[in-house]
Symmetry: C2
């Protein structure tokens, strides 16, 4: 499992398995790498970016937040400006894919920028990104890379994985924040002995062994291509119904967030009808986006016919809820065209 994780993270560093969900690894990042009073830049492209800000503040850090409109990705120049204004910044914390809005962030470009600022780390929450699209940790100079068991690892929630660069380990050794359960140095030492510091989530590790077998059998680049194809088909299908994608400029390969059309007053009825009437589970919007968007995922143990099934259920659902500006078959047809043209 340790070797398979390194290949997945595309790193030579040890990947630590924590018995927690992804937020635990985000918490661990802050409590292990920083000290009270440190300045960090957080990129709030949605609910999970905002979580970086909240964690930083909970630990007494000064969080300089770049707040974006829902659906917008940061411009590199915006982060450049913040880094110039705050040369004391210890890190830029962001999501590779912001699940709440379906935005994909320019991880490679952000890392390049951070690398030019000495003493600053690139911290990437890739919970819904790692194993979905290409995020080569060592090649891109990612300092902290995090994922969770329940996304591209295709397991139930309950395990987080985190890897640190040598720069990040140096920062870890200087941090003055208290920690115990999430003491990454202690966990690292245990992993090197094929152990964990505390009781591990054994069922997760056993499951992960099988997930990693599936992943490396298919091959990372093949998986990324499959996910890109499924994402494109989903977007084309949704657009063929006359609907708008929230993150139009930089849509995520992991999840497509779609604006609820004006004809449907209560947007929460879309996921509910999909589930109760058609047995297809999709997500609604969270917090201020509740009722305003719905979200379709297209990664992990899925193929073209899962996308077709989802779009078919969506066509029926929208029609039943009063949105009728399309012909049956428009979404599924557009998706099939994508599959046919991108074999």
């Amino acid at each position: 499992v340790r070797e398979g994780l390194k290949k997945l993270f595309q790193t030579n560093e040890e990947v630590l398995m924590l018995a927690s969900t992804g937020t635990g690894a985000m918490d661990a990042t802050v409590s292990n790498l920083f000290s009270p009073g440190d300045t960090v830049i957080t990129v709030n492209a949605g609910k999970f970016g905002q979580r970086w800000t909240k964690i930083a503040q909970a630990y007494g850090l000064r969080a300089v937040e770049l707040t974006l409109e829902p659906g917008r990705a940061p411009q590199i120049s915006q982060i450049e400006t913040l880094l110039r204004a705050h040369p004391e910044s210890r890190a830029v914390l962001f999501q590779a894919s912001e699940t709440s809005t379906g935005v994909q962030l320019p991880t490679r470009e952000i890392c390049e920028l951070v690398r030019r600022q000495p003493g600053c780390l690139a911290v990437v929450d890739a919970i819904t990104a790692l194993g979905v699209f290409d995020l080569p940790m060592d090649a891109w100079g990612i300092d902290v890379l995090i994922t969770g068991s329940q996304k591209a690892l295709m397991l139930p929630p309950g395990m987080a994985c985190i890897a640190l660069s040598q720069r990040a380990w140096e920062a870890q050794s200087r941090s003055r924040l208290p920690k115990f359960y999430f003491d990454l140095a202690r966990e690292h030492k245990a992993h090197l002995k094929n152990q964990t510091a505390w009781t591990p989530a054994t069922a997760q590790i056993i499951g992960l062994q099988e997930s990693l077998r599936l992943i490396h059998e298919e091959g990372l680049q093949n998986i990324f291509a499959r996910h890109a194809r499924l994402a494109l088909a989903t977007r084309e299908g949704v657009k063929a119904l006359g609907l708008d994608i929230l993150a139009n400029d930089s849509p995520s390969t992991a999840v497509t967030a779609v604006r609820v059309p004006a004809e449907i007053l209560d947007g929460k009825r879309i996921p509910r009808t999909m589930r109760d009437k058609h047995g297809v589970i999709i997500a609604g919007g969270q917090d201020e986006l509740e009722g305003k968007i719905f979200r379709l995922s297209h990664f992990g143990y899925v193929g073209p016919f899962d996308v077709i099934t989802g779009l078919a259920a969506l066509e029926m659902t929208l029609f039943e809820l009063g949105y009728k500006k399309f012909e049956f078959g428009d979404a599924t047809g557009a998706a099939l065209r994508v599959f046919s043209e991108n074999p």
Copy 2:
């Protein structure tokens, strides 16, 4: 699940489900209830008691540790003396059952003592105790009660459960230690809405529903009686082989730790032979007890024939490893006598 947990904890307080293993809940207790510089009394009856000390120290608390010989339970007078010497103590932190040595601690008596000291909390790690023997939280005045999914809840590791008394919640509101993932106030608020603060360990909660069904169908008092009977039979079986129980004065209903006889030089071979040759998994000693003891558990989804199987495998294993001071059938026979005399 929430109602079933309250019944199991014998409390009216909300029981919080955390996506972590038990040590996470121990960490959460310290970071939520105390502040740097606070004095706490820790009872080190083994590896897990020592863990309380380490966590307290990691968070900048002053830990006054009562260090006991392996296999010894604390005398109430020892804790009384410490409480008198340290009236500023905010809590006594201990294990209801110390898994590393098989000692059962006098939880009820310690709680009575703590109740007489204003501002002092009784914090009970019951990871291998809750659901094993009687620990009525509200009736005994336990302020913090912790368990983990992989013990009497009969699930894989990966979830911890924790309940706080009103006194503990008041302490929680005054704590100045930073926390985020383990912020119990936030978790409490979410639970009251049938949610969790962060992504929960869903598979654990679904499994817990079934465990709680089994537990309450059998009835708590019946379960405690079953466990006591299995523990007694195990102890009598082991003694009939001429072996010594490490925690002779106060043996735990959860686990029996047995001293490796002098005839077997490498005690680690006992669990290894049990597993590899007979397919029976038992535990060895940890840390300084490695190779010196082996441990037999007798709680959860087990009955008399599991104890008989374990003792039968033990008889063969000891014989194979050169300890022959018994007749085959001595251990199993003694256990059967216990079962027969305590129907």
